[in-house]
Amino acid sequence: MKAYLAILYARMATLLQYRAAAFAGVATQIFWAMIKTMILTAFYAQTTASQPISLVQAITFIWLGQALLALLPWNIDKELEAQVKNGNVSYELVRPIDLYSLWYARAFAIRTVPTIMRCIPVFIIAILFFGLTAPISWTAFLAFGVSLIFGSFLSTAITTLIIISLFWTISGEGIQRLMPHVALLLSGLTIPLPLFPEWLQPFLSFQPLRGIIDIPSRLYTGVIPVQEAFYYLGFQLIWILVLVGMGRWLMGRALRQIEIQGG
């Protein structure tokens, strides 16, 4: 365990050096959130039917989504990608480590560090100037925090799974182009999930990507009452276990079958 934590810290320290990227991210996310807020405000002003969530809640959804954007499994660790492509992954195996845990630790760093660097300034600016509301209660805030941590583990499991898929696809171009769009859409970043049509809701509420930002956002805004928090934390936990199990199983198969080339 200590080994993986040490790798995690080393990786986090490296990622913390990308300050310019974080600054650009903050600017972009604020810009997008403003545009989305305007669009939603215009829609809400024109509609006569009652909406599943209020405009204030919808705006909070948007700001939370933009602040936490980097948490989505939209990219992967370039070094690991290169390792799979050129076969150097075999050299990782000369160390007494479990490869899945190593990759999971590295994926956790790539999910959380950029998110932390971006979300704090966006949060502060949004609360001060752009109508991001505070959580509805302290308990809601606590539930939001816990489910956000679960969301990070969930997103990390998906990120790891994407890297494992490279064992079969090698190039990974396809999945890497697809992933940002799938992640944005299914996690409610394009349009908040409650605003999708009624008939899509059963599917949307069972797919794992809603567990990353949508569930924490619903707890924050009170769309999900705090009393039901345990049910949703359980939902996240089950998906984490399923995806980690799947990743381990696929990696085991890949390592047994794949012929690492070289004389």
């Binding site: 200590k2 080994a3 934590l5 040490a6 790798i7 080393a10 490296t14 150097n88 075999s90 050299y91 195996l93 000369v94 160390r95 007494p96 480590i97 479990d98 047994r256 012929e259 690492i260 080339q261 070289g262 004389g263």
Partner: protein, 327 residues
């Protein structure tokens, strides 16, 4: 007692066959054919504790494949392997705990981190106790002269510096067995000697069993008393260096740079190989004439600007060996 034993080890790779042209690619989409390539063909050997073995052979002979199987990375198609009593691919993590592995072609250190931080990560990965780590680090820093390099990120090190750090990294956990894959490749003469000295010291003083893969015949000559020659997945020779010498012609090369381009060298003690401008290649048999005698006889007749003695490259020696074996 043998620390590594390999019996009838075989490994085949399936390589997708590429068909030529557009039509061929189209066919491959629907029915992919594979070509079987035998990397190792029922090889057997055993290594005793404390041995220093040269494992040599041309590119593609199956050297790295053997090392990868011994470290539990690859699963063979047949045969049995025991490394310190364990089957490596079934107990990869326990097996690699006892192994140190150095690949000359690539670093195992973290590229962006200062050397000392890579070492500290390894301490956690191998779960080395504070005391053992301190002792090992101190000893390695002294013998490999690393104290000035500790705080430099790996990417800024020269190849020789990096290699010394890589070797230190592979030894922090005091492994019983060390696999060295071309540890002197690309190194300058001073670094080469330093690395060789250290390997010798490690084997003599600390009784580490070393398996050395290299194309550098000088590495083999100065370090190993036993060599295993591999070619096309089979063992061609397993024996001492003197057996190898007896089997091969003991040819050496003397390269002479003449001052006068129009001069030619002729001596009864050596065979003229070729001449390119000022430079002349001669071949001689060191059992018949020592290099010193040969050089004296040449310098007495010709004025020369430079000269050096060279071993024929390992590939050439092995190629010769195969030709002999075929006769």
């Amino acid at each position: 007692m043998s620390i590594i034993s390999v019996d009838a080890l075989s490994k085949e790779f399936l390589i997708p066959k590429r068909k030529q042209g557009f039509f061929g690619s189209l066919v491959s989409l629907f029915s992919q054919e594979y070509e079987k390539k035998t990397a190792l063909d029922r090889i057997s050997f055993s290594i005793d504790e404390g041995e220093l073995i040269g494992y040599i052979g041309p590119n593609g002979a199956g050297k790295s494949t053997t090392v990868k199987i011994l470290s539990g990375i690859l699963v063979p198609n047949g045969g049995s392997v025991k490394v310190m009593g364990r089957i490596p691919w079934e107990h990869r993590i326990e097996t690699v705990r006892e192994l140190g592995v150095v690949f000359g072609q690539r670093t195992q250190l973290w590229w962006d981190l200062p050397v000392i931080e890579s070492f500290e990560l390894l301490k956690d990965i191998y779960n080395i106790s504070d005391n053992a780590y301190k002792t090992a680090l101190h000893a390695l820093t002294e013998t490999l002269e690393l104290s000035n390099l500790m705080h430099i990120p790996v990417r800024q090190l020269s190849l020789g510096q990096r290699m010394r750090c890589d070797i230190a990294a592979s030894l922090l956990h005091s492994p019983k067995i060390l696999f060295l894959d071309e540890p002197t490749i690309g190194l300058d003469a001073v670094s080469k000697l330093a690395v060789r000295d250290f390997i010798r010291h490690l084997n003599k003083e600390r009784k580490v069993t070393v398996m050395l893969t290299t194309h550098d015949m000088d590495d083999i000559e100065s370090l190993c008393n036993r060599v295993i020659i591999l070619n096309e997945g089979q063992i061609y020779l397993d024996g001492t260096l003197s057996t190898l010498r007896k089997k091969l012609s003991p040819e050496r090369r003397l390269i002479v740079d003449l001052i006068n381009e129009n001069d030619t060298v002729s001596t009864p003690y050596a065979v003229f190989v070729k001449q390119e401008g000022h430079r002349v290649w001669l071949s001689f048999d060191p059992t018949k004439i020592t290099p010193t005698e040969l050089i004296t006889s040449i310098t007495s007749k010709h004025s020369i600007s430079d000269l050096y003695v060279e071993n024929p490259p390992i590939e050439e020696i092995i190629a010769k060996f195969y030709r002999n074996a075929n006769l």
